[in-house]
Subunit: 283 residues, 2 copies
């Protein structure tokens, strides 16, 4: 079957409404393109969750903070199309930015508390941009299910909260993050890494594994765990830590001890790249 | 036919989705209850625009600024029900506040520029509350059409903008404001007026009529027109002017001259009441 490519919002809305009313279950996987195995694992998970599978590719300008890599964000639409077609995607939604943000645009969706933690503290406006564009995509595609990767853990929680708060009838599915064989979390931005940086980037996953061993050895205290993580990251002079945090996996508020499931999340700068990674620690 | 009363969000969503998919055109008239002829004229206009007519009654806490009349906002649900049933309303949606704003609620919809003018400058958070609850109502009721009164002119423009910006598939219909025989714009809050205040309140409409004559006489300048309006209002010592503004009817930005259609809008305090009124001036 040939994948349909839709660039026009109204056409996408007509498609979504018609499918909904014919009883088909629509699944959406929103992406910014330049697809890797992580995205494809979301697509495959999506395939199983409904009848019609839509993938969106939209590099959303409003979720890039000033000075970030919006202008240089990697893309390869032809390759993305081939990959998605191979996965049996029904529709690729690929709107131009002027269509998503028309003249006079001025509306924003903000998830207040959740956006203030972790990456939110370092990327002003980022999660506002994310929440807004996802609300728009939900209104345009009208999916029953939407799939987000757990690598962007905070994003996933913000979308979940927005869906509850604004009464979107969309099931949000979080999909486990996918790693390269050597442990590096997959990201379109890994392409920014030079050879030495790519090697240094392994310290992220290593530091999370370290944290897991520390907890497995009985340590519960936040300071000790974060110390262990930072110790691992600090071995790589190319890695500049932005944050290492231990928090409640739902509210994202800092926790002092690993008593229940806790999210260990980190962000670093490495050359031109800003990389994030996370894991759930269990006592 | 008996009007159905729905208090539960999921029940309302199931109803909306089923109606949509059976090809029925759903019309929504959102209100805060304590209905008057102004509301009923929206309901009658709604009746003509679709197959199934939903009226919501929800006194939305988040659109009241601190110190405003949320706790004392007038209500008479039994009377409202009788009136709506008589108008052939199909569903009254009347959710409890805890259902609309559950524990942990933290998401807001903000229409940035439009909310900064007129009432927005005097009622912090008001239009954020309005935009958010209307976005929720749209996701809950799933209407094809929604009707808003032009008395709340700024609200109407903000909702129009939100609908375009967030890609809601809802036709927004603005309905002309309805006045008492003596010219006072209908409002649930008129009930706050004592006898003398009720009489003084007539100066609002009078001042708009004055502005119209000034413009008809050839005057175009903002200062002169506003002077005329204020002159009329100042004759009533009970009336405290909050603002009188002349602006572009779409962007709500101040205009210096009445060259095209221009919105003349005003807000006053009168005893316990805060009253607004407006008219369109044409050169």
């Amino acid at each position: 079957m040939i994948m349909r490519i839709i660039e026009n919002i109204q056409e996408m809305q007509r498609w979504g409404e018609a499918k909904r009313c014919s009883g088909r279950r629509i699944v959406l996987v929103p992406t910014m393109g330049f697809l890797h195995e992580g995205h494809l694992s979301l697509v495959r998970a999506g395939r199983k969750r409904g009848d019609d599978l839509v993938v969106s590719i939209f590099v959303n300008p409003t979720q890039f903070a000033p000075g970030e890599d919006y202008a240089s964000y990697p893309s390869d639409l032809e390759r993305d199309c081939r990959l998605l077609e191979k996965e049996g995607v029904d529709v690729l939604f690929h709107p131009p930015a002027e269509e998503i943000y028309p003249k006079g645009y001025q509306t924003h969706v903000e998830v207040e508390r959740l956006r203030s933690f972790l990456c939110g503290a370092f990327r002003p406006g980022h999660f506002r941009g994310v929440a807004t564009v996802v609300a728009k995509l939900f209104n345009i595609v009208r999916p029953h299910v939407a799939i987000f990767g757990a690598k962007d853990y905070q994003q996933l929680q913000i979308i979940r909260r927005m869906v509850v708060d604004l009464n979107f009838e969309v099931d949000i599915v979080g999909h486990p993050l996918v790693r390269e064989q050597d442990g590096l979390a997959m990201s379109s931005r890994n392409v920014y890494l030079g050879q030495d940086e790519r090697r240094a980037a392994l310290s992220l996953h290593r530091s999370l594994v370290t944290a897991q061993s520390i907890v497995r050895a009985g340590e519960r205290r936040r300071e000790r765990i974060i110390e262990g993580v930072r110790g691992e990251l600090d071995k790589e002079p190319l890695v500049q830590v932005e944050y290492v945090q231990l928090c409640d996996p739902e509210t994202l508020e800092e926790v002092k001890r690993v008593e229940g499931e806790s999210l260990l999340a980190l962000a670093v700068r490495l050359g031109k790249a800003r990389l994030i990674d996370n894991t759930i620690l269990r006592p």
